[in-house]
């Protein structure tokens, strides 16, 4: 195993069994006792292998349902793969979406603490980082308002500012910048740039092909659970775009 590798995935497979009828209650189970359950099998990932180097900005593209999110969820440890192995070098941020656990009824400040705790920070660490989170999100005026009264863009800004302070070596980002304004998006990519310079790794899933092409070192193109292309961002993105 190479020390320069941040993530190694070897022959990952994942199949979902989707039952035709949902027998979600004890009562239904009793009623349908003896009947055999019928499943629809859906192959989300089919022997996907790749390696991501440390300090790489790794883009993943593909159509809806091609297995991008499933792949990230397996990397994060939320799902377990049916087959294959994963090697992780360095601490991984175990989330794909920003603002996990955000509660609309609480104030922005409370939500920073809540989200930070879920991301594995102690309250002392959050105390220390609170100011920089606030500065980055530019929400000083709104921080004591309930989250539900903030615009969705502001919520994402708050979430993003909290998440990047989680201090992990590998970041998984699943379509996270869709709602931020242009200035904020630019700021985010500056942060990513800094991360990469410090040897951190970013896995970036997006439908924003321009951003993927511009910032990635390499791009993985998934189609129905298989790797269609893997390599240089310009070639792979163009291949993706020629489909339409």
């Amino acid at each position: 195993m190479n020390d320069q590798i941040a993530i190694g995935a070897y022959k990952l497979s994942k199949t979902f069994k989707i039952p035709h009828e949902h027998n979600d209650t004890f009562k239904e189970r009793l009623v349908s006792l003896g009947k055999s359950m019928t499943y629809e099998t859906f192959i989300a990932l089919d022997e996907v292998s790749f390696e991501i180097a440390k300090g790489e900005f790794f883009g993943i593209i593909g159509r809806n349902g091609s297995g991008k999110s499933t792949l990230l969820k397996i990397l994060a440890g939320i799902y377990t793969a049916d087959k294959g192995t994963i090697i992780l070098n360095g601490s991984i941020a175990p989330f794909l979406e920003l603002g996990v656990g955000f509660n609309p009824e609480l104030s922005g400040k409370d939500n920073i603490y809540l989200n930070g705790t879920i991301l594995g920070l102690s309250s002392k660490e959050i105390d220390k980082k609170y100011k920089s989170i606030l500065e980055f999100s530019e929400l000083e005026r709104f921080i004591h308002m309930k989250l539900k009264n903030l615009s969705s863009g502001m919520q994402v800004r708050l979430a993003f500012a909290t998440s990047i302070n989680a201090d992990r070596e590998i970041l998984l980002l699943d379509e996270v910048l869709a709602v931020g304004d242009l200035g904020f998006q630019k700021k985010c990519f500056d942060v990513f740039h800094n991360f990469i310079k410090n040897g951190k790794t970013i896995v970036f899933v997006s439908h924003n092909i321009d951003a993927v092409r511009k910032y990635s070192n390499r791009v993985l193109y998934l189609e129905t659970g298989r790797i269609l292309h893997l390599g240089d961002p310009i070639t792979v993105c163009n291949q993706y775009l020629t489909q339409y």
Binding site: L96, N103, L106
Partner: protein, 244 residues
Amino acid sequence: MLAKTDLKMRYQGSWLGIIWVFLKPFCLFLILNFVFSHLFFKDTPTYSIRLLVGLVLWSFFAEASMNGMISLLAKAHILKKIYMPKWLIIVSSSIHSSLAFFFNLIILFIFLFFYYHIYPSLLHILAFLLYVSLIYGISLVFSFFTATLYVKLRDLNQIWELLLQVLFYASPIIYPFTAVPANVRSLLYLNPMTLLIEHSRIALIDNGIARLDHLLIFICIFIPCLLVSIWFMNKTSRKIIEIM
């Protein structure tokens, strides 16, 4: 932290706030006390305090087991987005019930000291705390078994609510254990709450230590149950997120 938010959420906007936590068991206590101490147990001077001990312990068990059972599904929105150890979610759900229990306990001791002038010695209080931690233990065992099952069988909470009602009358809460005919007593001991409630009363009110051999047998059964429940939870929680 999760528990703290839970608490904040549940009682937000109600001006009685945290008072609700202990108002519930005490309303029940007032009703039951009124009915039974005047009608049936006129010659037992300590009936009320015995009832209170039983009720406080019982509501702790009922709340903790119910919250524990629904805990994983209730946190589905977070678990789908971020990796978290499942036991952490289950244990943190019980913190809320423990807090409510703690408040109830304070009131119980106020009654005990200032109304009945019963002052249990340190040894007896320690024994009582051991019984309490065993009650906490069995509600955890129950939660470990049912939290993952509840995701698959969503009417389990209704079944459990019903069973709790049956168990309430099958535990010596509103009646003393000695009122039960001798031939039924051993049957009653199948209910783990029987022993713990009965022993707690002996420690707190009668200032005695109940039969240690019973306790020892209890612990000898309890520990393997705990281990099996942890094993069961680990085994079943691996793929639980996908069906939430």
